[in-house]
Structures are given as C-alpha cells and as structure tokens.
Symmetry: D2
Subunit: 338 residues, 4 copies
C-alpha cells in the first residue's frame, strides 16, 4: 500500500496526486464495531454527522462509506441507510399481509421511525401506536432521519414515550398486529422482560384482536448465531401461540443473517401468490426486498438451523434466561433498540 | 474497556487477574481483511500456524478465535474451519444429487481438498480429477488441513497440477459433472478465462457426458454484492446451457451471502423430497447444511436479486469483462482460489 | 472488554450504563495513520469537524480524543492541538534568539499559521513573509485554527501564495532568518528541490542578510528514523554553511522524535543562560517547551545518532536523492506540509 | 490501496503479483496495543512464535515487522528486539558507572534477563541477584530470548523466585547498586508497594552499602505522560535520598519517552568525559545508546517537564496513591513487569 497511498502525500505538483489523496483520505477515519468479542466489523467514515445523548443511551448519526448514513446507539449500529429497508420490510409486511384487514397496530420500541414508515404504507391502517422509552432517541431520529420525516408527521401515528409493557397494560383498546422492535432479550438487558412467556401470555395476547398477529425481531439467525436468542424466542412463542413462523434475511451492514418470528392463534394459510396479490392491493409503492417468493424462502431454514429450532427447549421466563457470553451481548449491537 | 483489560495488567496478586489477562491477550493479535476498500473484517488470532509461498501466491494457515483454522492466500481468506462445510456442501451436492448417476467428476481448482472430500462421500463416484495450477498450495493443504487428509489419499482421486483449461482440452474422456472451484472472474485475474461463454461452449460442454451437469462457485450473491460477478456468471451460463439454476448461502466467515450456479441441457426436475432420498442413499454420513428444503430455499432469491438476475445482460467473453471497482477485487478476497 | 462495554448497551435501567455507554461510544470512531507500512497509530475520534480539498491536497480538521483538534492533509497528520507548540517553538525560537536582532523573516510553507504565530511573538520582528503554495490550505487554517487567528491578522504578516523557490528568487530584499516549514525531501515529492545543496547555495544563502540564519524542519530524528532524511539534510547544509546545529524533540502525536537543523556562516555562541535572557526580553508570553536548558539538551544527541550524523556522506542534489522505502514516505505523514 | 493490494490477488500470471502478494500478506496480521484508552499502536506481524501462561500472567513472543521479536505479557509489550537496548543501557549503566566500584547488585524483577545481561558486561561485577516473582516468565525468557542466554548461564548470576521486598528483607548482605525493574506503581497493581517512601526508607536504603546507588525504571516521561507516575517516583525518592537524578530516553516501540530515576546519599559528581572513561575501562563491548554526552542530555528535561518535576508534591505511601484514569494503566502496558 505504501507506494500508492504514500506517494500522493508528496503529490503537490504531481498530476494524479489528488486521486491518490482521495484514496488515502478515504481510509483515514473508521467506525469500528465488535460484532463479537473476537470479531470486528469496520466501516470507513465520511463524517460524524450528529451526536446526542439521552438519560439511557448515546446516539450518533455517522456517514459511512460502505453503508451510507448509520444510526449508532451506545456505540452499536442500529440501522444503515443502504439496507435498513430489508430489516423493516421483513419486520412489518409479512404480519400485515397475512392479516385479514389490519387497521390498528402497536409498535413496542421502533423510535427510529422506519417501522412506522413501513406500516403507514398499508392503506388498511387507521392507527399506529409507537411506544418507545427514549424521548431523545425519537427526537434525534425525527430531526435527522429524513427518510422517516413523512411518517413522523402522519396523523395516523400516535407517538408515546413510555415502557412498552406498562403502556400495553395501561391501554384498554386492542390491536390487529403488535410488533416488537426491541433490543435482544439479554438477561439484565433493557428488554428481557418483553420476551418472556408471561409477557406474551398476560400482556401481548390479551391485547390482540381476534385473528390478531404478533411479530417480533428475534436477533441474529445465522447458522451459528441463531442459538444466541433466535431459537429461544421462537420456542417461547411456541408455548403461547398456536401458529408460529420464524423467518430470516441477510442484512449486509449487520454482517449476519437476521431473524423475526410471527405468531398467532389463527393459521397462516397464504401462499406466495396470495401474499403478492395482497401487497399489490394494500401497500403504497413497491417493496424492494420482500415479496411472496422471498417470504417462502425466508421462512425455510437450512438443515442445521431447522434441526436446532426443532430441538430448542429453552423458554424465556422472568426466572430463567439464557446468556451466551460475548455473543448475546455482541449481537445486541446489531439489534433494534427501544 | 480500559478498566477490565488494564486492571489485570497489574493483577499479579489479584484473584481474577488471570481471566482478565486472557481477555486482554485474546485481543492482542488480529487478522484483518478488506472485504471492500471501505469495509474491514477482523478476526482475533490465537496463532499463525504455518506460512508458505508458491511461484504464484503466499499461503498462510491461521488459528482464528471466531472461525477456527483459516486458510489465507495472498492475504485473503479462502476458507475457515468452522464454516467451510457450507461452501463445499453447496458447491458439490446439488449437482451430484440432481445427476442420475455421477461416477466421473472433474474439479477445476479445488487444491484445498475440501471439494474432493465432499465428492468422495458419494458412493456413485468412481473417479475424481482435481486439477489445480499451484503445487505448493496443494502440498500445503495436504500437510496441514487434517480434515482433508483421507480425501487426499483416496485411490479414486487423481491429482493433476496444470491449468484447468489446458487439462480439459488435453484429455479425451468426458465427465458426468464438472465443478468450477476457482477465483472470481476478475478481468486480468487468473481465472477470468474460465468463466467466458467461449470456454463454457468450446471446452466445458464438450467434456460433459449426456445428462452431464456443470456447477461453479459464482462469487458473492448478497442483495448488493450479487451484481459484482454472480449475475454475470449466471447470465453467461444462460447463453450456453438450456437449464441454469443459481443458488446461494450465507457464509459467516465471508461476512456475505455466497453464490453458485448449476447448468445443464437436461432439466432439473427433482423436488426437495427426491433430493433428500438421493442424499440418503448416495452420500456417506450426514450433511450439516444442505438438504432438499435447504436447496429449495437457497435457489429462491429475494425480490431485488431475482429482478436483477432477470435483467442481467452482460456476458463474459474474452473480449468484454465487467470490473466493478473495489468490489470485484475486494470480494475476490473471499473466493476460492485455484 | 466484552463485559463492560457490552453490558451498557443493555443498560437502560442500569445506573452506570451511561458512563459505560460513553466508554463504548468513545471507542467507536478512529483516525488511523500508517506511520510506516507496518506500523499504525490510531486516535479515537470525537468528530470530523471540517473537510476540504485543494487542487493539490485533501484537508481535514478532526477532533481527536488523545490529541485534540488535528489538522490532516492527504490523510496524514500535520499537527495536533495539544502538542503543536513543541514543533513550532522548536522551529522558530532557537534561530530567532541566536540572531542578534531579527526583524525580517521569510517562511517557506507554513500555511497552517502556527510558525507565523510564534514569530510574531518576537518584539524585534518588523515583517514576516509567509509563502505557501496552497491557497485552500491557508484559507482552511485561517477559518478553522482559532489559535492562529490573531497571527493571520497581524499587519506585520505578508501572505503570498506561490512556490517558495520562485518567490525567493523573484524578491530583491533579503532576510535575517529564513525558515523551512515544508514537507520532507522525498524524491519526486513536492519539496525535494527545496532541500538540495544547489537550492541552499544559490537561492537561500543569497537571500540571507549578514549574520542571517537558516532553519528547517528536518523530518523524524529518532534513534532509527533519523536515517531517513534528517542526517542527509544535516549533511547537505554542512556543505553550504560554516556552522550547522541539528536538534530534536519528542512530539507525542507524531509517535516519534522530530528534528530541525539551524545553519549560518556566523557561529552560534550563546549558552543556555544567554538564550533564556534573550527569550525573556524579546518573546511575548512564556514558552511552554523551549528554553535555554531545553535547547542544550535538544542539540545533544544520543551516541547512536551522533555517530550516524558524523558518518553521513549523502548530499541532496537535483541529481541524487535518498529514498528509504516506506519510511521516508511513511514519516512524511507527520511532517509539516507547505 | 485498493489497486495495488487487490490487483495482486488476481495476479497469478502477472509479473509483480508476487511482490504485491507479499505486500498484501504483510498487512494481514497485526498486534494491537492500547497505549491509552483512546490511542492504539499496531505492529504488523510475521508470526506468533511462542505463548505461555503463569499463575500470574500470559506470555507471548511475537515476531513483529517494525520491531522484531517482541515479548508481550498480559497482552502488553514488555520489550522489543530492535530497541530494548535503549531501555536496558539506560537502566543499568548510569548507576554502575557513577558508582566507585560496583561489585554486588540486586535486581528487583528483571526476569527477562536483559538487565542482568547489561550488568554482567561490567568487569567490576562479582555478583548479581535477580529476584523475580514469576518462575514461568523467567523460564520462558530463558528458553526463547537467545540474546540473554549467556547472561542466564553466567556463574555470577543468582536467580531467585520470590517477592522482591520479602527477599530484600530476608537477606543479610547489602549491595552497591539496587535496581528496580518492575511494573509501574499503579494503585492496586502488583508493584505499587515497591515504590513507596516506606519501602525505600525501610527496605531499600538499609540494604545499600556506603556510597550505594538505587535506580529504578520510572514509567513514561513524555511532555504529558511524565505526570502519570514519573514525577511522583522522583518526588518520593527526593524524600528519602540526598541526591536524586531523573533522566529519560525515547523508546520507539513504546511510542513514548521513558524515564528512570537514580538516587543516592553520595553526590553524583562525574561529568560526561569521566563517564565515558569509566565505561571504556569497565564495560565489555560498546554501548549503542548511552555514553557521557547522552546521559547529560538525557538528564536535562524540557522546560515543561522540569517545571512539573520541581512542583510535584505527591509522595507514594502505603496510604496514598495516584491513579490517572486510563493513562497509568495504559502505560503500564509498556513497563517492565516483575
């Protein structure tokens, strides 16, 4: 590297010094994340756009070279401009299109605004409640994530700053779809309680209308990383709902496969074509990532993961918790944060 | 980090200093790879096991913390102990099980030995020709990749050191399956010629028996990275063979989805269950990653990639070549090298 | 690190999560510089304050955690807020205080403004000509380096945008002190010509008044790194001037010892106390780094470097040039840039 | 960098591909150290030669590109092949040559063997006691640090595995010179007690013969870093001995200036020439770094450091301790470890 990159440092009167200079400069500043204790993922930086802090967390908006603008909370990537559409299309649309006629949705977390944005593309939606615990994160995203500005102003959106559990218990009305857009269930973590069997049974299920669907982000779902929390979230929901569908997608900026789990007491009967038809009629604009075929593929896991999902016995309860050293925490890095 | 890691440096008479010391030491040595110009992927190292050099390339065997032993050629990861099974099961088994009765296989490249190892698990196989250009790489892997020792000694394996194209042209006999286990088609790269329409038409196809199948690794196949070479390899094969099936899988140590393309003039008619049945009867031992369902899912791409595969018009020819700055090269990093 | 840093990612209701969060966030963004090809020096970043580009170079002002605001040109550190005073006090004051009555000074390069700032602290100074080739760098520093604002506005400062050699040749008047604040003499580099015997003989010396002194930054001067350019600059000046004094100082942000060479045809006769006395009378404000004793020590090298300075035979001429692979260029990184 | 480094990955038939390959490979593996929490120092690695562990610490011998073989304990650099001579010549020779006739020396720590090696070059030496607490570290260095093999076998060397304080108190005989080659005095650290006023008064001083000299490594001594422990060690010794001389030297692999303090109740009266004369007569072989002039310069600090040494009021006692967050610990990294 020496040659190319160094030569331009002395390239003042040298024709291509500028190009080289750019090359060098491009490589000067980096954002570094520890995916796991022994694994680092580093993005070259254009700039550090904004920084903020709440009583809970530190917030940064970075301009990265490989993935565009990136929202970082407590030094961990939350979502990146170039590929957040994958996470949010997968979190929102499968549950909504499987539902007969979703009008009323509750988001636990989701302060970034992208989950609401995807929901509000559905012409069946009359009301979305977004309940995030951190006012500052919401304000930060409101002001800086241009792509979600319209959503934040949509009259159908009701924004509440509160603990998701307290809010769900406080409210009388119930919902067609409830969405969990929260940090992973790390023991002692902020969101662990929002992944337990008790919570699903006593708080979530009672707030679902007949035919209602619950869906949650479920952490990394790679051939190895699914064992951290994904398989346990799946197995915990299996204890509470009659029909449970896990699915996954690769998110480049997370350097891993990501997982979601959808659950209901009404069976999921639609095929790829039915899903495409409903998306066509209900969703404003085109999805980039998700359609019927994509969902069929996304909900069919490789042999190793299928086996391990079938064999999972762990259930999240207030009492027990699974904590895989490093991993669980490490991957928290790449989870959505409430 | 300061606290934990530093405190133990002074922890001589301090109970948990050793544990902490381990923590620090673990973080001292790193293997760093530039996936792309602006994207780095770093593994903590236990040790640098072996290093060697050939007239073509430099070779290293590293002991990494996140992915075990890793083969690195010219400073680029070739394969890692913990997940190479994904790459090699995907490269070998789909073509072999789709074939009526594969007895005779030619590997272009594959000096690492893992492709031969997977082939030799098939009880239909009578002969495997592995043709790699680099004697030293082969010798290096022979001596250090314990997992492939048995394969290297199998009497059904014929090892040839030669340019794959020259060798295919030299030989009279033809094959049931021909496998491309080569570096990506980077213009000016070592393997570009082995991905062109002419090569497929005039060299590969004539060497395939009736009902024969060609399969090749096809570079990164992520939602963005597939545009580097994967879609062009697919489209080039579409010009030469009647039936072409692209498929992909996430390989953690590559930090990306990887792609393969399978091609034949005989249709691929088997469903998931047929594939499972054939694997059960033909393959010694259990696959970890691949089975019928896995293949169905692996060969169904997300909306964005399907669209872009359909619309791909570029064809690799001796004349033309597609070179995406940085990417193409960057990802070469993670490709198999002949 | 896992523990501390990760735990706080999930530390919402956890008392010290914020402090920990800071810890994590602090470690997210880094400025990385290759001091040499195999040696990296990395600063944690608070922010990237400003970026710009000229026809010659790319310019950044970074806010670094270990060294405060840092000026980076073509991806190489030029000077850092916390320790630039060392470089600039050493470049300016020894020559000025050794001179009988310096009124008139010419700076080759120095666009950053810090060299002028130190000069203008001398009450003997009537006029300073600063001749830098890069208008944009000068404008960038003018607007962003607050510490030099006053200097840039001083009526005694004449700022010229031109090649230093052309400018010196163009001008009739001569100077009491001429200061070289330029990039290292790398062959093919922008400044090589401004370090040659011919340049010193035919351009610099004729522009010095009787009793005049020339001083130049002279690159890294560490126990090993002095061999890159420092000893050659010293030896080249030895060919042209009767009295030549090399000296050095450690600059933390450069991760090395730095060197300067002072030359004249009038002997340097002052002792530490004389220097202190003159500084007391002539310099406005207090030096932080340099005084008489400091200079005595700075101009006395360790055995290894003294030996190698004595034995140096290389002379910079238009024809010859010394280029030590990697080093010369690498350290250019840390040199002042014109 | 992209260009050069990437092109060679595909450079099989490309003339200079091998050279480039080397370039790439060279950059693959790195040793990384956090000098401070926000400051990293990274060496490219050739290999990891040996690793070991004791009840106290983890031990590694690395082969680094910039500084040759490097001894790393608990993930922190202890000494590097290319420049350890600076540290050890500075630790040993000033005290020994200032002493009238040193025959009998006690080393606290020094398990690496280099301090003993330098001592044994003195023809006045009859006996050296090296007292290190860690048998494994000693054994590791004995077997792997070839440069110290002869010293370890010298009949004049008595090696004791014990706590330095206990050993000094246990022994009857006293010494001409006592040398502290220990980790920095970090509160709660392994060696803090060996830097306190009480220890110097009640343990060290009573064990010094008439005219005896005590010398200790004293941590980083840079323009900023001297405030971590160097100035306190100096001030603490000032309370106990009549004559105290601090001095320093730049050690490239430590990325900082390092400090030592020499103390006695007999004045240090020798000038540079006297020192040179004694070295000439007493020391076998040539010093590379230290001679009379070097010591004069090394014991004359810059204005900022002189001021802060004069004004230092902190004294290390069992009760009090100074701990500068990050720094103290960070720099422990680069200190000699007992």
């Amino acid at each position: 590297m020496g040659d190319i990159s160094y030569s331009n440092n002395s390239g003042i009167s040298n024709g291509n010094s500028h190009a080289n200079a750019m090359l060098v400069q491009r490589k000067g500043c980096w954002y570094e994340e520890e995916i796991e204790e022994n694994l680092r993922w580093c993005f070259a930086l254009n700039s550090i756009l904004h920084t903020g802090a709440s009583q809970y967390q530190d917030i940064q908006l970075l301009d990265t070279k490989p993935f565009g603008k990136a929202l970082v909370i407590d030094g961990k990537l939350q979502s990146a401009e170039t590929d957040e559409f994958i996470y949010h299309e997968c979190l929102v649309h499968p549950a909504l299109v499987h539902h007969q006629n979703p009008t009323n949705v509750f988001i636990m977390g989701g302060g970034e605004g992208s989950t609401a944005r995807e929901l509000l593309r559905h012409n069946t939606i009359a009301k979305v409640v977004m309940c995030d615990i951190d006012q500052e994160v919401v304000d930060f995203c409101k002001s800086y994530l241009v792509v979600n500005r319209v959503a934040f102003c949509d009259p159908r959106l009701e924004l509440v700053i509160n603990d998701a559990r307290a809010e769900l218990e406080r409210r009388e009305e119930s919902y067609d779809v409830i969405i969990g857009d929260l940090a992973d269930p790390i023991e002692g973590g902020p969101c662990y309680k929002l992944y337990t069997k008790t919570f699903y049974e006593l708080t979530v299920k009672p707030r679902l209308n007949k035919g209602g669907i619950f869906v949650t982000q479920a952490g990394p779902a790679g051939v190895f990383s699914h064992a951290e929390v994904f398989s346990c979230i799946y197995n915990t929901l299996r204890q509470v709902f009659k029909y449970v569908v896990p699915y996954s997608a690769h998110i480049p900026s997370y350097a891993d496969i990501w997982g979601w789990v959808m659950a209901s007491d009404t069976p999921f009967v639609l095929g790829a074509d039915d899903l495409d038809l409903r998306m066509k009629h209900r969703i404003k604009g085109e999805n980039r990532y998700l359609d019927g075929k994509t969902f069929t593929s996304a909900s069919t896991f490789c042999k190793a993961v299928r086996k391990s999902l079938d064999n999972e016995t762990h259930v999240y309860t207030e009492g027990t918790a699974r904590f895989i050293y490093g991993h669980g925490h490490g991957h928290n890095s790449a989870t959505k944060h409430n």
